[in-house]
């Protein structure tokens, strides 16, 4: 389940990050890695939701998630 806090108006510059967030969240769910997502978010970022992160921190988190998805794609 994707949980994003979005205001009604979104600046267009925020869309690429949100698109990346949605893409990676979907990939994480497809690979059964939601527990890993939650663990990294909670332990390393002390946040309950990715949407709680500041934009730059969110990008760093998504960099880790990108590697996570690759690291667990060995059966693909």
């Amino acid at each position: 389940m994707i949980s994003l806090r979005m205001s009604q108006y979104q600046h267009e510059h925020s869309m690429p990050t949100n698109a990346r967030l949605i893409r990676l969240r979907q990939a994480v769910e497809d690979k059964g890695l939601s527990d890993m997502w939650d663990m990294i978010l909670s332990i390393d970022y002390q946040a309950a939701q990715a949407a709680d992160l500041m934009p730059e921190t969110l990008e760093q988190f998504l960099d880790v998630i990108e590697l996570l998805v690759r690291a667990f794609s060995y059966n693909d």
Binding site: G32, L33, D35, M36, D38, M39, I40, S42, I43, D44, Q46, V64, L67, L68, R70, A71, F72, S73, Y74
Partner: protein, 163 residues
Amino acid sequence: MLARPNYMFADLGLDAVDKGLADPRLARFLEDTRAAGGIADNRLRLHMPYLSLCSDAATPSSPPPIFYVGQDCSQRLLFGDEWTRSPDASLRTPDAELEAAAADGYRIALERGAYYGYARTRLHLNGSPVEVAFERLIVALRPRVGAPTRFCAYYGLIQSIER
């Protein structure tokens, strides 16, 4: 760039940690993961800057691919920041021979729950050949109780770098 290295990897076993022979930072990490029952809970937070995390896909010739490299992790200190920004393939340290030599530790950690060992290896750092000695503790963890996914947390501690 890395030269052709000589490697020596020794499995010292967890008894060595329990007997107080390991660096106290590694011993504390093992103690915390044991107290957490092999679950990555808040006790892991203290250690995160020094850890690299990887999947559970160890093979006889390669350790699992890495997905997280802490800011003060020994691999980052040795190999620099650049290799952590691999654009496509899964992240691995940049020396295939060293990777192969290191693989056993991950396999053992996944079998037994944890691995503690000592290693010496020759590398090129900033263009100069060096011999690096390090302790390494690898622990297999789950992100929560009952989670089907496992991953490895690597804590490496450089003991010496000799030119």
